[in-house]
Amino acid sequence: ACGEDDASGDSGPVTLRLGYFPNITHAPAVVGVEKGIFADKLGSGVKLETKTFNAGPAAVEAIFSGALDATYIGPNPTVNAFSKSKGEAVRVVSGAASGGVALVVKPEITSVEQLRGRKIATPQLGNTQDVALRYFLKEKGLTTTKEGGGDVKVVPQENSQTVETFGSGAIDGAWVPEPFVSRLVNAGGKVLVDERDLWPDKKFVITNLIVSTKFLKAHPDAVKKLVEGQVAANEFVNTKPDESQQAISDHIGKITGKPLDVKLIKQAWPTLEFTNDPIASSLKTGLDHAVAVQLTEPVDLNGLYDLSYLNDVLKAQGKPGVTQP
């Protein structure tokens, strides 16, 4: 209940509760928090409270129950949050990152055809990477089933476990996001497919920024300032990569007790692109793919995006806007 109170109370400073993951794909969020960019942009009228999550579901639950106002999150939970609330609960107000996903396999596998009969891991049944793998294989004429059967055996498992199982030889490859791509490569894997190559302009969404509809309605100004912060954070990340990488490492260290190796961040960095465009088309296409591989029912994404704030901010800075789908 206190969530709604905070969100609807016009008197006094507004509290914005922002969620993100301590992760490379959430670089703008991490850097923005660590460097005080959000606090700066939100100004004195909006109090920033940050919450760190380990995975999407908890963040969605938090948004649903009014415990969180905005969060950086992957495309998959975004769609879930939107569709399970019948299009009511959330809006995407900005993009954050693109790319950073690849199929890493054992070095002896050199062609897609050789994947037949192999075990390939994905982070989670029905998530973006899982769908991408299944669709990719389908295009190549290889079948998969939800239960892990078919020409290629898809094993959904946590990314951390994938590193263990790949190392021990229990799986032959994995379609995973950064930093796990780099990790698997360091563990002797080889990138067979870089997912960017499958998309137009080599762009597809990996992280975007969502805001709860209630908060958006109650405090559009605060949301605009948040988007300003996001744009500024991306600016920072893109212009000062070294400082950003160090900031990410430090920030992760604060939360997890051990700074992430900067070398690993540097290794993963080039595969990612930090863009304010949420690349709505890729989300839509991804969903079509999911329907094609029979992992979901079609979902109407109308109204998911509200990019007016982003475009306002970009326009004010004299930058090109993004297309509102």
Binding site: A81, V155, Q157
Partner: protein, 295 residues
């Protein structure tokens, strides 16, 4: 000294022995019929259930939370109904139940041996005694890497996690039971010629049985919880499981399905508890400690 004195004195056997005290007296005189006994055992459950669902529905009606965050009973039971009609529930349940039984059996075997050893052998107790609780506190996910190292992506990896979760609990039950075996009975056993293994068989094991059953019950809870986590470890080809479905429901932010699965888990828990309850009641009847209290 006729009926009016009766009125003042008769209460001794009825009204005076009331409230909690009444529960403390063997209520055998209230030799109820079979039907009324079943009714007495059933209505509180039904009432509790009705109360819980009513409360839930009331909260939903207040509109306190959005329906996608807190779905109402109607939505959940509709989803549960679909779920019950789907093959995935029954397949998942079959897989999970089999794993639970096998894993728990292994855990019980390990736990019993470990518990008996630690309880009766001084050196083992000094060496491992305190390790058991420590192991018990280790979360399942900490064992996952080791499980994969040892067993790759096989069901054995799941069993490994289940056994590590449940065996310490069983062992602790055994140790507690053995520790509190009345010394007089141990002496009596030794005196009637039960030494070594026979002492365990004829005296220590039966005397510790109540505590062992309690330990098994706690062990089952650990086993089941570890299994729910462990089933995510290995999603074995062609096999769905309750643990995996639970996590997927959450991953998809599917609140009604999540609650439907929770109901299924509760029902399984109730069935298992009924089995343990029957065992415990049989023991208490034998020992003559039944009917002290409510049941």
């Amino acid at each position: 000294m006729a009926s009016d004195t009766l009125a003042t004195t008769a209460p001794r056997s009825d009204a005076e022995i009331s409230g909690l005290d009444a529960l403390e007296i063997a209520g055998q005189e209230k030799a109820a019929t079979r039907a009324s006994r079943i009714w007495a055992a059933t209505w509180p459950k039904v009432a509790a259930l009705a109360l819980a669902i009513g409360l839930w529905q009331a909260v939903v009606w207040t509109g306190w939370k959005d329906s996608w965050a807190l779905p109402g009973p109607a939505v959940v039971f509709a989803d549960l109904w679909h779920y019950l009609l789907s093959a995935s529930l029954w397949e998942g349940l079959a897989t999970t139940a089999r794993r639970a039984v096998v894993g728990f059996a292994a855990a019980v075997a390990v736990g019993l041996v470990l518990g008996l050893g630690v309880a009766r052998v001084k050196v083992l107790r000094a060496a491992l005694g305190s390790m058991i609780t420590a192991l018990q506190t280790m979360p399942s996910i900490a064992w996952f890497p080791l499980a994969i190292l040892l067993f790759q992506l096989s069901e054995q990896a799941i069993f490994f996690v289940v056994v590590l979760g449940a065996a310490p609990s069983v062992a602790n039950g055994v140790i507690h039971g053995v520790d509190y075996v009345p010394p007089l009975l141990v002496r009596a056993g030794r005196n009637v010629g039960a030494r070594g293994l026979n002492l365990y068989r004829y005296v220590i094991a039966p005397a510790a049985l109540p505590a062992i059953v309690a330990g098994l019950k706690q062990g089952w809870a650990f086993a089941w919880r570890s299994l729910m986590a462990g089933e995510l470890l290995v999603v074995i080809a062609e096999k769905t499981s309750i643990g995996a479905q639970l996590t997927y429901a959450r991953d998809f932010s599917d609140a009604p399905r999540l609650m439907a699965i929770m109901i299924v888990i509760l029902v399984v828990g109730l069935l298992v508890d009924a089995a343990f309850g029957a065992a415990d009641k049989a023991i208490r009847r034998r020992w003559g400690v039944l009917d002290q209290a409510g049941n």
